[in-house]
């Protein structure tokens, strides 16, 4: 086994184990900190897939932004609210959980189906890209590539996202405004 493979298995084990802990623990704050480990292991997997820009963006946005905001919400809400969540009913299968179980099972079926149907070692589009020399190497710079793609092929989705973010910003500014509201 090469070093890259060993690293891949270590990081996927860490991400899976920590994700399981996040989903199963009753201590909500610890589960958030564990989620940080999951995101970090995922970033490592992205680096192994030569997507270093995606990996760093994941850390900036999820760890530096979203996780910190979730923790903020936690610290602003009192201990009583948190304790109420901790004292949930223990039964593994109950009527309330049926939609969730159904959704998870369906998703599992789709995933398993995908894994068995796809022949991952020689996908047609990957073979075509390699033949056309349209692939990336560990030393190639990705930022220019991403920038050009965002400004040409994917300009419309990019602009749509920017409008969405703008709407969210305006909404936040409106909600936090002082004085009489209409």
């Amino acid at each position: 086994m090469s070093l890259a493979q060993v690293l891949f298995y270590i990081m996927s084990f860490i991400s899976l184990a920590s994700a399981l802990f996040v989903a199963s623990t009753k201590n909500l704050v610890r589960s958030i900190f564990m989620f940080f480990i999951t995101l970090f292991a995922l970033a490592g997997l992205y680096v192994l897939a030569l997507a270093d820009f995606v990996a760093i963006t994941q850390i900036v946005i999820y760890v530096g932004g979203i996780l910190v905001l979730i923790l903020f919400a936690f610290m602003l809400s009192g201990k009583e609210t948190l304790n109420a969540i901790t004292q949930q009913r223990k039964a593994f299968i109950s009527l309330r959980k049926i939609p969730a179980i159904l959704l998870a099972a369906l998703f599992l079926i789709v995933l398993v189906n995908m894994i068995f149907k796809v022949d991952a070692n020689n996908l047609a589009w990957i073979r075509r890209s390699i033949e056309a020399r349209n692939d990336i190497t560990p030393s190639s710079a990705m930022t220019e590539n991403i920038g050009v793609s965002l400004m040409t092929n994917y300009l419309l989705p990019f602009e749509a996202i920017s409008i969405l973010l703008m709407i969210a910003l305006v909404g936040a500014a409106h909600l936090s405004r002082k004085g009489a509201r209409p």
Partner: protein
């Protein structure tokens, strides 16, 4: 295999350096503060009190590690390590001289920026884990402040990157001196690629980068929780903020992280704006001062001098200015620095399109 050994040596070397710097930094800070406040500072231990910080660290190593009874033990114990590691990892991508860089990353600057943001998480962890209202207030203030000030700092950095056209810190460094692979213009009209020196530094490449540097410097003070932005550990209000409950070695780690952070943000400022490892002496006619004083050894010397100067200014500001109030702090960030940083970015774009 030698390959991996080098990595370990460099990592241990960087750790040793940050520890040594923290020892020196604490001593320098005490002496500087004493000078500014007309006191003497440490004088008893060693000549001029120079052994004071060694005595302090010895004392800290011997102290008992107290964990509060109501604390979340795991989070409490892990927090100082995460705070320090986040800062320490940032050093991996910083160049020290021509050809001297621990890791030659294409995305160097972006990586450093991402890794620094993890420190916030460690601070929140310390605040929550201590189970103490002062700690939690300090942690929340710290997180709010760091998240807010990352925005002007980020845009100030982006306005440099737009001029330099690369995120690789070593390339950005090389562009600011006689080793530049392309053309370096002084204020966009005078080609100084062969003259080098102070004229080729990024702050003089375009006039608005000087403003960007000031914005970055102010934001970097806030990111390393230094006065006048030290509300997370405001002694008069919060005892000691997020590290109220820490003792002994853990407290030492928090302090080590603070001083390493000072060095890290100053070094990023030097690399991006003040010519990195390039000499300040230009080539004047037959005297090739820039060519004579450029090299690996000289590089380390110049970058250390520049970084220590910036740290000196940080200390000077800390002991001169009073602490800002929370709302004033946020107003400064969102109403002054952020719009100015946006303006700098806009000017960078126009500069790039029409003047380069």
């Amino acid at each position: 295999m030698n390959f991996y050994l080098t990595y370990f040596f460099i990592a241990i070397g960087l750790f040793g350096f940050s520890a040594l710097f923290a020892l020196f930094g604490v001593y320098a800070e005490r002496k500087v503060s004493a000078f500014i406040q007309d006191r003497l500072g440490p004088t008893e231990t060693g000549k001029y009190g120079s052994l004071q910080t060694f005595a302090d660290i010895l004392k800290m190593l011997q102290k008992e590690l107290i964990i509060p009874a109501a604390a979340d033990k795991l989070l409490f114990m892990m927090a100082p390590a995460i705070i320090f590691i986040a800062v320490y990892l940032g050093f991996a991508a910083l160049p020290w001289g021509p050809g001297l860089v621990p890791s030659k990353l294409n995305l160097g600057l972006y990586y450093v920026f991402a890794i620094i943001s993890i420190e916030t998480l460690g601070i929140l962890m310390a605040g929550w884990g201590s189970n103490n209202k002062y700690s939690i207030l300090g942690a929340m203030r710290s997180a709010a402040q760091i998240i807010s000030y990352e925005i002007p700092a980020g845009f100030a950095l982006i306005s440099v990157v737009m001029i330099a056209q690369t995120l690789n810190l070593q390339d950005i460094a090389a562009q600011q001196g006689v080793l530049s692979p392309g053309k370096t213009m002084f204020s966009g009209f005078w080609d100084v690629s062969s003259i080098g020196g102070i004229l080729a530094w990024n702050i003089f490449r375009a006039p608005h980068l000087l403003i960007a540097f000031v914005i970055y410097f102010i934001a970097s003070l806030a990111e390393s929780n230094r006065a006048p932005f030290d509300i997370p550990e405001a002694e008069s209000e919060l005892v000691a903020g997020f590290h109220t409950e820490y003792t002994g070695l853990r407290f030492a780690l928090v302090f080590l992280a603070e001083y390493s952070m000072m060095f890290l943000v100053s070094m990023i400022g030097v690399i991006l704006f003040l010519g990195a490892w390039n000499t300040p002496l230009p080539n004047i006619g037959p005297a090739h001062l820039a060519a004579w004083t450029t090299g690996a050894g000289w590089g380390i010397l110049w970058i250390m001098i520049k970084t220590l100067t910036l740290i000196g200014i940080q200390m000077w500001i800390r002991w001169t200015l009073p602490r800002l109030r929370v709302d004033k702090l946020m107003a400064l960030c969102w109403k002054v620095l952020t719009p100015l940083a946006f303006l700098c970015m806009l000017i960078s774009g126009i500069w790039r399109l029409w003047l380069m």
